[in-house]
């Protein structure tokens, strides 16, 4: 027996086993449990891997807006018109993971300076719980000097010398509040609408509802920098109970933009294409036989992966950009950094990517070591994003993209006006603890007012006194700008319709142009 004959024999045996497997009791029971209900109402099913009941429920709940209504499992990311006219087509969300201090950047509090070094008044501590502060901490004045900028007169500190010139382009939300004081739940709340795991992220909702215009690129791209993932891990761009094709695709600005996008060593592009075609033929045959729509999804994923092989390296290669663009962003080609990701975000949006999510890790300014001290390590964080985020806004603007791209910048919570005293002992460096009640987020483009501030905090930046908004309100506003009514955009799961904003959320009309 030659080796070829041996291999052929093995293949034949494998095929026979696979065929027999289909006739086993276990296979029958597994498929029946999932498939019988669907079979019963097969005519209503229309080929999207959900039960007919769910589909009807979804249809009723969505008030005639149903992204899956004409769902083509072979092209799950085909673009769809928004339910009502949108003010933004794309989103770039710049998340500073670890939570930057509003008191050193945007929320100018001269009164807090006067209290610097004094014991914290008991009224601020009564009934409060902090992540680390125990006993009576000292107050900590702003570790920055502030100036009013632009015609709008927004306060921006000297830590952001480049961004200070953008005061008239952006809209500040200065009284954002959350109810989660640990990083992971707060990040989940900000991006998935729930502090617990398992809900779809905002980017997943958006690509589920709108698809994406460029079928050769993912609709929802995630870029990370700062040396670590956000504390909430990959769940923060997960698809939860939505079909998994809507989860964020993590790309990199260092090495291959997408892992395994290069042809394996010694394999030519033609061979790759031929093998994908062969796999798809086999899958098509399987679909002919079993009519499982998931098979079509699988085929489409292979096809998209192949198209991405051709398109993505081009779009995701920032090295082709002219030198002055690199200078403007302050990129460090070949490395992984926020500036590279910001430039990449612009390139992606320019090519029709729907939702680009950046995470920059390392903003957790506790002051328990030099690296996260407000006067040392955190200053380097300011420097690492200041120029790049300014350049991103200007670059979008000059290309005519800013009016259709909504840019959001912020963290998951704010920082205390008190200096952190971990375990009751003053920290060695200047730092602040996690603070849920008040922090600042800014938005730009995408039909949001320019040179505008909404919300105010008290004289030490501890509590909102007007214009308080929650993560749900921000989510409702983002969905609104993209053309959704956040209350009607639902997905039925486990017997009830779910939405990104769950049972809350108010569109912040005050900031809309």
């Amino acid at each position: 027996m030659t080796r070829d004959e041996l291999n052929a024999g093995r293949l034949a045996e494998e095929a026979r086993n696979a065929y027999l497997q289909l006739k086993t009791r276990r296979h029958f029971l597994k498929e029946s449990a999932m498939g019988l209900g669907a079979l019963a109402m097969g005519t209503l099913l229309g080929g999207c891997g959900q039960s007919a009941i769910d589909k009807l429920a979804r249809h009723a709940a969505n008030n005639s807006f149903d992204p899956l209504q004409n769902f083509d499992p072979a092209h799950p990311l085909l673009p769809k018109a928004p339910p009502f006219a949108a003010r933004a087509k794309s989103v770039i969300y710049l998340h500073m993971a670890g939570a930057p201090s509003q008191l050193e950047l945007f929320d100018y509090k001269p009164e807090l300076m006067k209290m610097d070094g004094q014991d914290c008044p008991p009224s601020l501590l009564a009934g409060k719980q902090f992540a680390f502060i125990t006993g009576v901490p000292k107050m900590l004045g702003p570790q920055a000097s502030f100036q009013q900028r632009g015609q709008s007169g927004a306060w921006i500190s000297d830590h952001l010398p480049h961004f200070a010139n953008m005061a008239d382009e952006v809209c500040f939300l200065k009284a954002v509040t959350t109810d989660q004081f640990n990083h992971a739940p707060a990040q989940l709340l900000m991006h998935t609408g729930s502090a617990r795991l398992g809900r779809p992220s905002m980017g997943s909702w958006v690509t589920y509802g709108l698809g994406t215009e460029n079928q050769n690129l993912p609709g929802f791209v995630v870029l990370t920098s700062g040396g670590s993932f956000p504390d909430a891990g990959k769940s923060v761009w997960g698809s939860g109970f939505l079909p998994s094709v809507y989860q964020g695709v993590q790309c990199r600005s260092e090495g291959d933009p997408v892992l395994f996008i290069k042809d394996p060593h010694g394999m030519s592009r033609d061979l790759r294409k031929a093998s994908i075609e062969a796999i798809n033929q086999a899958n098509a045959a399987a679909y002919e036989e079993y009519q499982d729509p998931e098979t079509l999804s699988r085929i489409s994923q292979y096809e998209m992966a192949y198209r991405m092989q051709i398109t993505a390296p081009d779009v995701m290669n920032i090295n082709d950009e002219p030198a002055y663009i690199h200078e403007m962003y302050g990129t460090q080609p070949g490395k992984s950094c926020f500036a590279n990701n910001a430039l990449l975000a612009r390139k992606l949006v320019e090519k029709g990517v729907r939702y680009v999510q950046l995470f920059d890790w390392g903003w957790d300014a506790h002051g328990d070591h030099a690296g996260n001290s407000l006067n040392l390590g955190i200053i380097n964080k300011y420097r690492s994003v200041d120029k790049a985020m300014t350049a991103l806004l200007l670059d979008l603007k000059q290309r005519g993209l800013l009016d259709e791209t909504l840019v959001i910048w912020g963290g998951e919570f704010g920082r205390t006006p008190m200096m952190e005293n971990r375990n009751g002992v003053q920290n060695p460096y200047k730092g602040r603890d996690h603070h849920t009640d008040a922090f600042t987020i800014w938005m730009a483009g995408g039909g949001v007012k320019k040179g505008f501030s909404y919300g105010e905090t008290d004289e030490i930046g501890y509590h909102p006194i007007s214009g308080k908004v929650e993560p749900f309100d921000i989510q409702a506003t983002i969905l609104h700008q993209l053309g959704f009514d956040h209350e009607k955009f639902t997905y039925p799961f486990q017997g009830r319709p779910f939405r990104l904003t769950d049972i809350s959320g108010r569109v912040i009309h005050e900031i809309l142009a």
Binding site: A86, D168, E169, Q398, R399, K450, G451, A513
Partner: protein, 471 residues
Amino acid sequence: MLDFFGRFHPVLVHLPIGFLLLAVLFQWMGKMASMAYLRLSVPVILVLGMISALFACVTGLALSGTAEYPESTLGWHQWMGILTTLLSLGMFWAVQRKLPLYINGFGVLILAGITVTGHLGGTLTHGENYLFGEADAGPALPPIADIQAAHAYNDLVQPIFEARCVSCHGATKQKGKLRLDDPVHILKGGEDGPAIKVGDPDGSELIRRILLPANAKKHMPPVGEAQLLPHEIQFLQWWVRSGADFRQPVNALPQTSADKQMLSLVESASQGLAGDAAPGNNGGTAPVFPLTAFIPNKEVKPADPATVQRLKAAGVVVLPVSRESNYLSVNFVTAGDRLEDSTLHLLQGIREQLIWLKIDEMQISETGFPLLGQLTALTRLQLSRTNLSDKTLSELLSLKNLQWLNLVGSPVTAASLVQLEKLPELKQLFLYQANISTADWDALQKALARVQIDTGNYRLPLLPGDTSLVK
């Protein structure tokens, strides 16, 4: 103290609603022999209903004095509430006397009374249109052809007051002793003093009331009434700031450049060109044009599905601008690097619906540009990094609805760009990486005075902090 009791009205009203409905229900269900025992409880429930209705009336009267509710609705709600209370007394009487005809009659009347009173109460708290959805406030202004030539008071201020204020502050009714139907009364003010302080919109009671949060007690117009649109408010603010003049046309009054922008947007809003183009409060910077401002208000018939299908087959992204609109946006992002004339011919089939077109990094033939020029419904056109040249630019001058033009990376010079003044609606022009130099700037600015031009090429200085770390 009275205020405090009044606040219990929203809680208490639900008790008589429940009790009285239950009484009528039990009375009628009790007609069935098997449920006759239900009737035994009817008098008790009716008494409870009457008592709670009485409390609801008292707290309601206390509440009515504390906030500005539309008077006529309030009156009807009040009297219908009292009537329903009396009806429950009537039904109690009929039940005690066992008069079937009267019992049924009072039952029906109570149901009607509860429904009407409840609806009126809902109208008071949630506004006129809460039941069937919010109908937007109609425009206050008639179409204004040239706002600068319009009369500031007669053509603008008075129509706004007429539409939004005079029904309560006019000749027939003077709430708060204020009349806004003629200059004399406007200047005189109301019981809280002058309505306007000339030159100081922030110090003017009228403007202050309009700007209060919608749920504030003193906000005007009151809950449920047609509210002022943002551009109407901004116009009034400017009018007060510029001296609250009753005699002169707009162009005779002082205007900053931001005011001019605002005024031209009031003009286009009055013409109904773009419902959303009303300027936001932008803190004095350039106005924001949201995407929705680029959708015509006029309806259009649906596009030919076969043409759309053929375009899609060619890799072109064709999408309605929203589910509720027949207007289309087209994007060539995945349609290769050559734009064939055959595709452009296909676009002619949807030229009535096609309002947004995006062409980036593509080559277009000499004969293709005239075809682009025929897509006259376009309001937004992106022709970035194409081979558009000085020669072919003139083909675009027929796009009379174009408001937004993106020519980033196109080798066009200022000499031909000045022709764009022939585009009557053009508001924004992007010329980054076009073939122009700083010397051309003046000529461009002059020729396209109405247009926001962005030539891009932004640079950021290199600051010490950009390249150093703190240790």
